[in-house]
Amino acid sequence: MLLVSFLFFVLTPIVVRGIGAYVFKGTVEYRRMMFDQFGRGDEEKLKLEIAASVAYRKPVYDAISAFEKELAEMPRARRKELKPIFKSVREEVAGLLGPAPGQPLPALTRRLYGQTRWNRAKVRRERVLFEESWDYSDKNSDGKKVLIPRRPIFEGTALVPLFDCVEYNLLQMMNPHTTFYGRFLTDKSIDAHFFGGIGPEVLGTIYLALGAMLIAVPLGVVAAIYFQEYAREGFVMTFLRSCVNTLAGVPSIVFGLFGLAFFINTIKVSNGKSVLAGALTLALLVLPTVIRASEEAISAVPRTYKEGALALGAGQWRTILTVILPAALPGILTGVVISMGRAAGETAPIIFTAAVSVGKMVGPLSMWSNPTPALSWNLYNICTEHEAVEEIRHVQYGMALTLVALVLALNLTAILIRARVSRRLKG
C-alpha cells in the first residue's frame, strides 16, 4: 500500500501538470507566436482575431497615453510619487499583452509576445493590479508577502480605466482557446525554452540511449554466453564475476568522472563532449544489468534443448547460435529494454561527457562528435539555472513527463515481454 501511495504521490503532479505542456488554454499571443516563428495557423483568421483583441486593448493604451499627458502637468511631489509606479504598471502591461503599438520592437524574442498561456496571463494580471510588498512588522517570523492594490493609488487620474479594463476584459483581449500542442515533442525551443518544444532534448536522449545499447548489448551478451556456456569454475571466473558485481555498485557520478578522464582526456574519442563519449560511458553503466539479465535468460533455457541439439550432432557454436540464443531472446530483450530505460534517464554520467544546456538538433551523421542536449540534463538545467524558472514551469513539467513516460513505457514493455515468456514456459 505504502509503495503504491509513494508511486502515486510522485507521479501525480508530474503527470497532471506535465500534460499542461501539451494541452492548455492558448491565447491569441500564442497563435501569433506560432504563426511568426513556425509558420503555423491560418493567416486570415489570425488577422481577424488580432483585430478583435486590439479593439479591446485600445482603452488600455488610451489610458496610458492620457495619463502620460496628465503626469507632465502634475505638481512635482505627486509626479515623483506616481512615476515609478506608473513605469512598473506599463512594464507589466507590456509583459501581459506584448509590446505596445507604436513602440520599437524589443530585441529578445520572449518580449515580442504577451502571455501565450491563459493561466500565466492571469498571474500576470495580478501583477498589473497589485503591488507586491513585504511586511516585516512581526519580528518573530520572516516577512509576509502582502499585495497592495494599485487602483486606489491612481484614484482620480486618467489611468483608472486601465485597471478596470485589465480586470474585466482580459478574456476578450487574450481570447484563450483550449489548444493541443502535440509538436511540443519535436519542435525546437525558441529563446531558451520560453516558446517552442523540446525536440532537440528528445532526440539527444534517444541517440544516447540507442548508442549506449549498441555498445553494451554485444559486449554484455557475449560475456553472458561465456559465463554460462564456456566458463569453468575457478579463480579467474570468480574474479571476473566479482568484477562485474563491483561494476554494478559504482556510483553513477564516478562513471561520469571516468568518462571524462578516459574517453575524453586520455583516448580522445572526440574533441570535448560528444554523444559517442556519453554513449560509451552509459554503456559501461548498464553493462552489469545486461550481463545479468542475459545470464539469467540463458540459464533459464531448459537443459534438454541443449542436449537435444548436441545429440543431433550440432557443435557448441551452432547450438548456442541456433538453439540457446533464440530460446533466451525474450529474456535478453527484457534486460536490454530495462537497461535502455536506465540509460535514457541517467544524468550524472553525461554531465561531463555529452550534455550541453543549449544546443541545436544534432543530425544523425554529425552526432558522434558533437555534444547534445538531453532530456535528463536539460530538466535539471531549466529548473535550477534558468533565469525565469517560474515562467517556464510548464516546459519543466512537460520535460519531466516526457522523460518519465519514456522510461516507464520501456519498463512496461519489459514487464509485458516477461509476462508472455513466463506464460509460454508454463505452457
Partner: protein, 380 residues
Amino acid sequence: MNDCNNVITLSSRDQMVRRLLSLLGRGVLFCITSVAALSVLAIIYFIAKDAFPFFQQVGLKEFFLAKSWYPTGEPAKFGAAAIFMGSFLITAAAVTISVPPGVFAAFCMSDILPFNVRQILKPVIEMLAAIPSVAYGFFALVVLAPLLQNHGGAVLAAVWWSLALPLLLMGSYVAGDLLTPERLSRTAALILSSLGTLVFAALSLWLLRSVGALLHGLEIASGVNALNASIILGVMALPTIVSVSEDALQAAGRELREGSYALGATRAETLVKVVLPASISGIFSAVLLGTMRALGETMVVWMASGNAAQIPDPWYNLLEPVRTLTATIAGDMGEADQMTGSAHYHVLFAMGLSLLIFSFSCNLIGEWIVNRQRKRLRGE
C-alpha cells in the same frame, strides 16, 4: 558407406583445425568477456591516477580534517570534512527512513500478503526503481520543497503517521504474541496475547501522538535542505531494500516455515524467531545496497540538499542545507580546469575515489556476510 565414415570419424588434420578454431573462438570470447569485466579496474586506475596529484599537492590531512572549502579562493582551500559529513548525514537519514518500512514491506510481500497482490506489487516496485533520478530531483525541488517550506510540520507529521502507524501496530501485535508464555491453554494464551497487544498498541499510540505533535510544531525556513533530500533518497532506496530483502526472506525456504508451524509456533513467532534469523544476512546486504544507492545518488542531492558546504549545527540537524560528495563533483567540474588539471580538478577525482572505495568496501562486506551465512545454513 564411405561418405558416412567421413562424417563420423574425421581425419586427424581436420580434427586439429576444428580444435584450433574452437580454441580461437573461445579465446576471442574470453577476451571480450574480460574487457567487459575488467573495465571496473580501468575505472579504478583512471580515477586514482587523476586523484593522486591532489594528494601530492595538498595532502590527506587537509582534505579529510579541515572544514573550509574554498576551491576557487586565493589561496584555495580544500577541506572536505563538511562535505564528507553532508554525505554521511544524508545517507544515514535516508537509510533510517527507508529501512523499517522497506523490511516491513518485504515481510508483507513474502509472508503475509496473498500471491495475487504480490504479482501487482512487483511491477510497482520496478516502476519506483525505474523513475529517473532527475525526475525525483525535480519532484523534490518543485513539489516537495515548497510544501515543506509552507506546511513543513503538517507534512512531516502526516508522513510520520502514515509510516509509523502500520509499523507500530504490527509490531505491538507481534510483541504481544511473543511475550505470551508457552504451555498455556489456548484461551489463556489468546487472552494474554491480546492483552499484550493492547498494552503495546496503547504505548505505541502514545509514541505516535507525541512525536507527531513534536513534528507538527516544526517550522522549516527553507524547503531545500538535508531532510528533503533524505526523504527522496529514502524513497529511491526503498525498491532496492524491498526486493533484495524479499529475495532473502524467500530464500529462507518453505521447509523452515513449515517445520516451525509443525512445532506449534504461531505465525508471529515463526516470522521473528525462525525466518528473520535465517535471512538476516540477506536483509543486511539489502541495507548495504540501499546505502550504496543513497550515497552514490547525484541529481537528487544536487537539486534538493541546498549545497552549502557546512556542518549543520548541531551536527544532526537535518533542517539545514548540506552539501554532498556527489553534488560537489557534479557542480564543481564545470568550474574546474579540465584540460591542464588544476588542484580543483584533481580534488574532485579524490572525492570520486573516496566514493569508489566506500562502495567497494560495502560490496566486500556484503559478499562476506552472505558467504558466511550460506556456510552456516549449510551446517558447517
